[in-house]
Structure formats: structure tokens, C-alpha cells
């Protein structure tokens, strides 16, 4: 690991100023991904600004039902919080499907959103990678891409975003609160992560020095009828191969409204708008669910070893929505 300076932030404004002033400074939260990548030589900050003592550590439900979650809330606390467990099952389930008990006790909301891809080439500094070293090339297209993207990728990069939590938040239309050198702003989660295009090194729309201070989950009338379903290579403690976050509103056997987002198939948590549009007003049947998934996946660009994700994610959509339709009928 490269040497670095360390400071503990006592307030957000100072943290933002400190990182803004140093192009090689980084914020440190739970450290589960950043410290690991520093050991691997992938991340080489020369200054770490520790955020964990900042007061962004509460979950508050506002009068209109909006759930505001501080960026320092640990994944395990968020999953267990009554407002999340009972009111937003897909979010609690997504959090519990991720990592291990130890890591969920460390990992924070903001850190989870900003974690880096687990693409093996990105994590190996002896290999080319357009994301880590712009212009160096991407061996994944011809090489190990079994768990890489089928949607939203580019010639330059086919990495996937590894978060489970973010997939549920994408389905919920979450907003991200950001504090920066020019003040505070809020951005839809859908606009936080960038698609790779020709610049896979630009993963988010955050400017250097901008700090995520929390997220806001707006109320969704049928959020209690929601689920997160994750497929992985072993039963627990593994990244997704494909996952689906879904919420379903059915009346008289017809889909009145639906939220759908996919994980582990794209460079960002993938909100499935085409599938949602295809499903509204249709009968809540397996055939409709399958047709909706296929509408979304019409844009898929599978590669040699990840083509299985197309039928896999389709089946996970059908199963998840069928279960929810069964609950609501």
C-alpha cells in the first residue's frame, strides 16, 4: 500500500474543502472496498479524509413518508430498521443479500453506492483496463467476462456495478443528497452513475470533492409488496450473477403499476423502464412478465460467456413478479 496522510473530518464542509483542494485525496467511510483496493494498488490516494464520525447516521421518516437515510448508516442497521424492513422489503432484502455480517457492519450507504466494479482486470494492476488506466485497453471482451455486462456497456468497458442495495434504490426512485464546494444539491440516483461510453474512468456524475451525505426514498404506495431476488454462484456471501428488485401493484388481476430494476447486468443499477412500460395495464400473468422482461432485454448485447444472463434475468423477473402477484391476489 502507498503511504498516505490521514485526517478525521469533524464537519462536512471541512471534509469537502479538504478533498476539493487535493486532486489525489479521497473520502474514507467503511473502507471495505477502498482499503482493499489500496492493498491491491488499484487505489492510490495520498490523503484519506475519514467521514465516519460525521453525524450522517440516522434514518428518519418524514410526514409524507419519505425515508431519509444518512450516508454513514451501516448496511446492517439499515436492513434491520423497522421503516425499511416493514415498509421497503426490497431494500432490506437487497442489503441482507449483500456481503457478510461483518462487512454489513462496516459498509455505509454512500460507500456502497460508490464501490467499484469487481471485474478481475480492473482489480489486477498487471493487466490493461480502460477504467483504471484510460486507453490501455480491455481484455474482458475476449477474456473473463462471464459475470460482466449485457446492457449499457461500451467497446471500452463491460464492467458491472456490484451493489445490491443500489438496485433496490433505483427501483424506488431514490434521490442522492450531495454536498460540494458550491453548496448542497440533490440528484436522482438514476443520474448518479454514468454509463462507460468512451470514458469508463468517469463512473459517476459527482465532481471531485463532492460528498454524498444521504439518500431520500420517496413514498411508494405499494412498496410493501416488493422483493429483491438475487442469483449467485453459491448460496451466500457472493456477488450477484443476476438480480431483480421489484414492486408490484395489481388490481383485479391487472398490473396497475410496477417498479423493476436489474443488478449485475449493467455498469449501473439498471432501471427497467421498457419492461415497466410494457407491463402497465397488462394481466398479471407469467406470460406478461416474460414479455416485459424480453422488451427490456431487446437491447441486450451478450458476449460469448455471459449470454446465459439473458434467459437468467428473464426467469428471475418472471419468478419475482409471479411471487408478488400471488401475494397481492
Amino acid at each position: 500500500m502507498r503511504p498516505f496522510q490521514f485526517v478525521r473530518a469533524d464537519d462536512a464542509a471541512t471534509a469537502v474543502q479538504t478533498v476539493t483542494a487535493n486532486p489525489k485525496a479521497k473520502f474514507l467511510a467503511g473502507g471495505t472496498n477502498l482499503v482493499d483496493l489500496m492493498k491491491l494498488g488499484v487505489e492510490r490516494p495520498d490523503l484519506l479524509v475519514d467521514l465516519t464520525r460525521l453525524p450522517f447516521d440516522s434514518v428518519d421518516v418524514e410526514a409524507d413518508g419519505t425515508v431519509r437515510i444518512g450516508t454513514n448508516v451501516r448496511n446492517s442497521d439499515l436492513a434491520a430498521h423497522p421503516a425499511v424492513r416493514n415498509g421497503l422489503p426490497l431494500l432490506s432484502q437487497a442489503l441482507l443479500a449483500g456481503a457478510s455480517g461483518q462487512l454489513r457492519n462496516m459498509a455505509t450507504v454512500g460507500g456502497n453506492l460508490l464501490q467499484r466494479t469487481r471485474c478481475v482486470y480492473f482489480q489486477d494492476v498487471t493487466k490493461p483496463c480502460n477504467k483504471r488506466q484510460p486507453g490501455s485497453g480491455c481484455p474482458a471482451r475476449q477474456g473473463d467476462h462471464r459475470n460482466l455486462a449485457i446492457l449499457g456497456a461500451s467497446e471500452a468497458c463491460i464492467a458491472t456495478h456490484p451493489s445490491d442495495m443500489a438496485v433496490a434504490l433505483a427501483a424506488l426512485d431514490a434521490r442522492v443528497a450531495v454536498s460540494g464546494p458550491d453548496g448542497d444539491r440533490e440528484t436522482p440516483l438514476a443520474e448518479l452513475h454514468a454509463l462507460p461510453g468512451e470514458h469508463p474512468e468517469q463512473e459517476t456524475t459527482l465532481r471531485h470533492g463532492e460528498l454524498i451525505t444521504g439518500i431520500a426514498v420517496p413514498p411508494l404506495a405499494y412498496a410493501e409488496r416488493s422483493a429483491y431476488r438475487k442469483v449467485r454462484d453459491r448460496a451466500s456471501y457472493a456477488f450477484a450473477v443476476a438480480s431483480v428488485a421489484a414492486a408490484l401493484d395489481v388490481e383485479d388481476g391487472v398490473v396497475r403499476d410496477v417498479r423493476l430494476a436489474f443488478g449485475a447486468v449493467a455498469p449501473k443499477p439498471w432501471r427497467a423502464h421498457a419492461a415497466e412500460d410494457a407491463l402497465r395495464g397488462r394481466p398479471a400473468t407469467a406470460a406478461s412478465f416474460r414479455a416485459a422482461a424480453e422488451a427490456e432485454l431487446a437491447a441486450a448485447e451478450p458476449l460469448r460467456d455471459n449470454a446465459f444472463k439473458v434467459p437468467l434475468i428473464t426467469n428471475v423477473v418472471v419468478r419475482t413478479l409471479s411471487d408478488l402477484a400471488g401475494e397481492t391476489s
Partner: protein
């Protein structure tokens, strides 16, 4: 900086790069916590920080100034083994023993999480009723055992949970 470990205060001058695991092993001589993968994938380094289990290999020591840390060396009470330690002995919950300190610290943290009513990925119906083998396996999935002693680790942990709940397991 100051590290509070097992009820004792240590004054240390550490490189910022030092993980909690390396501080414990290399600077304080507490070699019970083990370095397996050093990347948060195996759980051998699990310790309790403010009572919660974490991977000490991914925590920078400098971030833990003034925080209460408990390691495998601090679990026994005046020579009397912690109930989880005793259960691992009674059930032969290990073979080579390398993952055992992490398994035990993780189990102590996990049992406390369960007592607080935390759900797991296999919990159905919102509230976990009682720990069973499936719940233990899911909640302990962050601790790998290459000897494959899970067949005895799971019953050892269930013994402690059952004893605390006033039940006896076979």
C-alpha cells in the same frame, strides 16, 4: 494514537497504512486474530468493535482511536471460557483451528445481532423466531473453514443459542 483492546489502553505510534489486524498481531502481540486472505473474504480476522463483528483486515487502525476492541484473547472471563469457546470445544468445532478465533468472535457478534432481532437473508415473515441451522449458516457465511468443520461449528453455535433461550438441543 490510543487503542482500547480487551479492556486495556495501548499508546501506539502507527503508520497510517496499518490495519487493525496488523496492529493487533504485529504491535500488541495478540496473534489470536488470524490473517487468512487479508481482503475481507474469509473472516479469520473477525474481531468485535464496540461489540459488533468486523473484518479487522479492512479496518485502518488509525480510524479506531478510542473505540472498544475485543479479540479472541479478551473473551474469557478470569480464565473461564466464553460459552461459545466452550461449545466449540464440546462439539469439536474445528480441525486445524486457523479459522476458529474468527469463527468464535463472529458467532459472539452474530448471537448478539440475533438477540437484537436483526433479520437475515433467509428470515421469512420479518421477525426471526429462533436460530436454526439455516439461519446460522447464512449469518455465519462470512467465516470460511477450509477443513470443512461446519458440521460441528453449526451445532456448537446452536448449543449456545439454545442454552441462552433455555432450550436443550440434542
Amino acid at each position: 494514537m490510543q487503542l482500547h483492546v480487551n479492556g486495556r489502553l495501548h499508546e501506539l505510534a502507527l503508520d497510517n497504512r496499518t490495519t487493525l489486524l496488523d496492529a493487533l498481531r504485529e504491535h500488541l502481540g495478540l496473534t489470536g486474530s488470524k490473517k487468512g486472505c487479508d481482503h475481507g473474504q474469509c473472516g479469520a480476522c473477525t474481531v468485535l468493535v464496540d461489540g459488533r463483528r468486523i473484518n479487522s483486515c479492512l479496518a485502518l487502525a488509525v480510524t479506531l482511536d478510542g473505540v472498544e476492541i475485543r479479540t479472541i484473547e479478551g473473551l474469557s472471563d478470569d480464565g473461564a471460557l466464553h460459552p461459545v469457546q466452550q461449545a466449540f470445544l464440546d462439539r469439536d468445532g474445528f480441525q486445524c483451528g486457523y479459522c476458529t478465533p474468527g469463527q468464535i468472535c463472529s458467532a459472539v457478534g452474530m448471537l448478539d445481532e440475533f438477540d437484537q432481532g436483526w433479520p437475515s437473508a433467509v428470515t421469512t415473515g420479518g421477525q426471526p423466531a429462533a436460530l436454526d441451522a439455516g439461519e446460522v449458516r447464512e449469518r455465519m457465511s462470512g467465516n470460511l473453514c477450509r477443513c470443512g468443520a461446519y458440521m460441528n461449528i453449526v451445532p456448537a453455535i446452536l448449543d449456545v443459542a439454545d442454552a441462552a433461550a433455555g432450550r436443550s438441543s440434542a
